[in-house]
């Protein structure tokens, strides 16, 4: 079992949990967290390199590094792991954000030990989710990732934290209620497994069987899509996002917006569309409308917010909406773009939240009307903010651009009038994005200093610099060398693997 490299994505965090539990000082906690997440990052980088090598050598299996261990034999529940380029990209994203999040929580107070314990428990859920290809295991990890949010926001958050934490948890659990039903439904219509069992939770097997009756797909697809869509902040199930993000502590916002929301998009294509191609084709239009609304609606809402985190949360609604939107276009290019958008948005929004946290930590306000001219006071953070903003509004050379362009080009491939219309509507979001990003940049960073007291504030410390610089480098890396990532992702979206693309 431990010869499979993927298992270490769960094992390392578990060891980290133990290490942090045994830590006696803040320094030890930090070193465990940082060392562990560096290890995870290194592991995912190594796996990507190795994966590309295997693919280049002609390995055409849909998933590599497969491992299957029977768990609940009676229900044919297995602990199966396996990754393709998409999961690898997501693993890399998660480990980078965990790393930068650890740096961003360098001085977390109070209860640092508990904070990191929960944070890493959350990351176990995330990593586990991305490596699993067994629906049950996947779902289990999915829920593991959800619940630490409650405590992380509730204890270390700010503002109306108890309300927000509760709302977030309940809404996400509401989504997973639909999801659970859908998963059980899929299970009972999955068709036989290779080992002779009547039903299976194995994603690849279910997709290969393609045995879910069409009438059931009509029922199960919306369930699964809405279930994951809630986490993907799909309109109208997105309202947990602004409140939740606004109240969460920095690292949690980072991890949540950066990675956890990606679980939604990932699940949508990996479970809903992958397993139920028929319904995906038939019902895509409903969700296309919803996600199309998400895209512009989030952007318009962000235009009038005054709280930095709310702005970013609504912007996340818009950008994550674009992810789901692209997935629903059901063609290779758009879906590749969706994954790139996930990566891009993950990094970019983590950067945003990190910066907002750092600014908030200094000024103790997130209201843009009470701040101004920060460029003069904390140039490093301000420049980073501008870069994040530029990435968000899709400046070439940064990650947002390549992702959005891939999505738009891909979406336009779809000749359906509705899709076309919504593609053009979604395109409009790039203008609105520019509006709200520049509004913030103009008010917050530029202009005269609003508050005399702010003049005393200091610029970023070394750990904050590390955290933000890492993210910026990643954002720029995707933006400058998109083809590497596109090729990593595209393999999965071939008609041989994704029935819906036929």
């Amino acid at each position: 079992m431990f010869s499979n490299p993927l298992i270490y994505f769960v094992v390392i965090p578990v060891v980290m949990l133990l290490g942090i539990y045994l830590s006696r000082s803040m320094a030890q906690i930090r070193s465990v967290a940082v060392a562990g997440s560096i290890l995870l990052t290194a592991l995912s980088v190594w796996l990507i390199v190795d994966y590309l090598g295997l693919r280049a050598a002609g390995d055409m299996a849909p998933m590599l590094y497969r491992g299957d261990w029977m768990w609940f034999s009676a229900l044919n529940i297995k602990l199966s792991v396996g990754v393709d380029g998409i999961s690898l990209a997501m693993l890399l994203l998660s480990s980078i954000i965990l790393l930068t999040g650890s740096f961003a929580s360098w001085k977390i107070n109070p209860l640092p030990k508990e904070f990191f314990l929960w944070l890493i428990l959350l990351s176990i859920g995330v990593f586990g989710f991305f490596i699993s290809i067994d629906l049950f295991t996947m779902f289990m990890f999915y829920e593991v990732a959800l619940i630490p949010m409650y405590l992380l926001i509730g204890i270390w958050g700010t503002g109306r934290k108890e309300y927000s934490a509760m709302k977030l948890t309940l809404m996400l659990m509401g989504g997973s209620a639909f999801l659970m039903l859908s998963i059980i439904g899929i299970y009972y219509h999955s068709g036989p497994d290779v080992n002779g069992a009547a039903h299976t939770f194995d994603l690849l097997q279910i997709a290969a069987n393609d045995a879910i009756p069409h009438s059931w797909q009509y029922f199960l697809f919306p369930m699964a899509f809405v279930g994951f869509g809630v986490l993907g902040a799909m309109f109208p199930f997105h309202t947990w996002s602004p409140d939740g993000h606004a109240c969460a502590p920095t690292a949690v916002s980072m991890l949540h917006a950066g990675v956890l929301m990606k679980l939604g998009g990932y699940g949508c294509f990996r479970v809903a569309i992958y397993l139920m191609p028929f319904a995906a084709q038939e019902l895509a239009w409903i969700f296309l409308i919803l996600t199309g609304i998400s895209v512009v609606y989030g952007a318009f809402s962000a235009c009038v917010q005054t709280d930095l985190k709310y702005i970013n949360a609504y912007s996340s609604v818009s950008h994550c909406g674009l992810v789901l939107f692209a997935i629903l276009m059901l063609n290779t290019t758009a879906m590749t773009g969706a994954i790139m958008q996930m990566l891009s948005h993950g990094l970019m929004t983590a950067l945003f939240f990190a910066l907002i946290g750092m600014i908030y930590g200094r000024t103790h306000t997130r209201d843009i009307r009470q701040m101004g001219g920060l460029m003069k006071i904390m140039p490093y953070l301000a420049v980073c903010y501008v870069i994040a903003g530029m990435a968000s509004l899709g400046l070439p050379g940064l990650s947002g651009f390549v992702a959005e362009m891939t999505i738009f080009v891909g979406s336009f491939e779809n000749t359906n009038t509705l899709n076309r219309v919504f593609t053009i509507i979604a395109c409009c979001s790039i203008v609105i994005t520019a509006v709200y990003i520049l509004r913030v940049v103009g008010k917050l960073l530029f202009g005269p200093v609003q508050d005399e007291h702010h003049l005393q504030l200091t610029d970023a410390t070394w750990w904050e610099r590390t955290s933000t610089a890492t993210l910026i480098i990643c954002v720029a890396a995707i933006g400058c060398f998109p083809n590497f990532f596109a090729n990593l992702i595209r393999f999965t979206f071939s008609p041989d693997i994704f029935a819906v693309l036929k």
């Binding site: 609940f72 009676a74 990890f141 405590l151 509760m166 039903l181 009972y188």
Partner: protein, 491 residues
């Protein structure tokens, strides 16, 4: 008469032996060594519990007394599950039982408890309604005495009055239903009734009313809505040890018995009649239980309503009407015992120390008593069905069990309603977590070290919460047993 058939009842007989030992110890030991009673009881009950897993108890399908009594490995297992729960309850109760107030009545407490367990054994193993009724009464009447145990507390008396009156009323209803069944089927043997009803007209109003009354009678023990109203009052008024006993052991046995009755006696009229009745009961139970639990402040009362809604989830296992449903039901009971007892363990520890049982008293508990609050949190997460704790698995399996082998959309809708209810339940479980962890107030309860027995109880329950789900052998084993031995007569 062939006395060898008593051998089939070896578990019951062993339990009676335990009962007698405890009874005699209480009767004949000098007063100065009375303090050893609880330790003695725990010890011999632990031996009994462990030995029940030994091969000597394991047998195939055995029948005694002309088919009135049946045992098989599935029943052995459910009894073992109850034993484990009982053991934890005993351990947790020992501090309370050793307190000055209870010293003189300790013997009765243990004896009565063992007798109720004996009654539950009979309920589980009965294949004749006479034996079943005896078991039922044996399981519920001594409980009334136990509820009334806190002689100096008015609440205890009121709870006991409510319990005994409702219990008798419900057994009257139950027996009225049985009389109708007898009138229709001419026998009280489960299988005879089953065969008699096989050809019967399912729309016979007499049958339907009989069924409703039988369901009401067992539903009382399970506290299904609308037969649940006694629950909260009794749970609140009873001594906490008794409450925890009521909420898990008594409920667990009743759930199993309910499944046996519905599937093995009325199985033939399944789809026509009781399926819909059960749907209604489940939806009502889960929803009403949840809604009541939303606004409770007394922890015991809160857990009472939570246990009502949990009973609704347990009922989902019956719907599948097959081995998987049964296994899920048993597994659910097992996990529920551990989770709920963990919660009650914490409540008891705090109540014994400070006398506080209100949720507002739990504010800031993490600051003063981190371990207790972590145990409580795990219990709440497990009850709410959060992975990786056992509750998640039991919930997932119970839903899987409910939907196994069905294409019925109505059933999916039912499960969806149950799932949506989990959100409400999550809300109120999180309220407890919120009080303990999120509140920035100064803790109400000062730091203290709980008694050794309480800690042992908590360790066991926490181990259960962590291990029962993640370690797959428990469920796998139960399911295999159920597939081999459970529900033979059903399609």
């Amino acid at each position: 008469m062939d006395y060898s058939q008593f051998l089939a009842m070896k578990q019951e007989i062993a339990l009676l032996g335990v009962f007698l030992l405890v009874f005699l110890y209480d009767l004949f030991m000098p007063k100065n060594s009375q303090r050893g009673l609880s330790g003695f009881t725990i010890a011999i009950f632990a031996i009994f519990t462990v030995s029940c897993f030994c091969p000597v108890f394991i047998s195939g399908h055995e029948v005694a007394f002309g088919g009135m009594y049946v045992t098989n490995p599935v029943m052995l297992t459910i009894k073992n599950i109850l034993n484990v729960g009982m053991l934890i309850v005993l351990i947790q109760a020992s501090r309370w039982a050793n307190s000055e107030m209870q010293v003189i009545r300790r013997g009765e407490f243990y004896s009565l408890m063992l007798v109720t367990l004996f009654g539950m054994y009979l309920m589980i193993s009965a294949r004749h309604f006479l034996l079943f009724v005896i078991g039922l009464e044996c399981a519920s009447l001594p409980l009334a005495a136990m509820v009334a145990f806190e002689k100096n507390h008015y609440e205890s008396h009121e709870a006991a009055i409510k319990y005994i009156l409702t219990a008798v009323f419900s057994s009257a209803i139950f027996m009225l239903g049985l009389s109708f069944v007898y009138g229709l089927a001419g026998s009280l043997y489960f299988d005879s009734v089953y065969f008699a009803l096989t050809g019967a007209d399912a729309t016979d109003p007499m049958l339907i009313v009989a069924l409703a009354f039988v369901m009401a009678g067992v539903g009382f023990k399970l506290s299904l809505v609308p037969f649940h109203l006694w629950t909260a009052d009794v749970y609140q008024g009873a001594p906490t040890s008794v409450t925890s006993y009521l909420s898990v052991i008594s409920k667990g046995s009743a759930a199993f018995a309910f499944m046996v009755i519905l599937t093995q006696v009325f199985g033939c009229v399944y789809s026509q009649v009781w399926e819909w009745m059960l749907y209604a009961l489940i939806i009502l139970t889960i929803t009403v239980g949840n809604l009541f639990a939303l606004r409770q402040h007394n922890m015991k009362r809160f857990l009472a309503f939570s246990s009502i809604s949990q009973a609704g989830y347990i009922m989902l296992g019956i719907i599948g009407c097959n081995a998987m449903g049964m296994a899920s039901l048993m597994f659910y009971i097992l996990v529920y015992i551990f989770s709920n007892l963990a919660a009650f363990g914490v409540i008891q520890a705090i109540e014994n120390q400070t006398g506080k049982v209100d949720m507002t008293d739990y504010r800031g508990l993490y600051k003063s008593n981190p371990h207790l609050s972590v145990v409580m949190m795990l219990a709440m997460f497990s009850l709410a069905g959060i992975p990786p704790f056992a509750g998640f698995f039991s919930k997932f399996f119970i839903f899987t069990g409910a939907l196994s082998g069905t294409e019925s959309t109505a059933l999916y809708v039912l499960v969806l309603i149950a799932l949506i209810n989990t959100i409400i339940s999550l809300f109120y479980y999180l309220l407890v977590v919120k009080a303990m962890f999120l509140s920035s107030d100064e803790p109400v309860i000062a730091p203290f070290r709980s008694a050794c027995s309480e800690r042992v109880g908590m360790w066991i329950t926490v181990a259960g919460i962590l291990a029962l789900g993640l370690v797959s052998c428990f469920y796998n084993q139960i399911l295999i047993l159920c597939q081999t031995w459970g529900l033979p007569s059903l399609a």
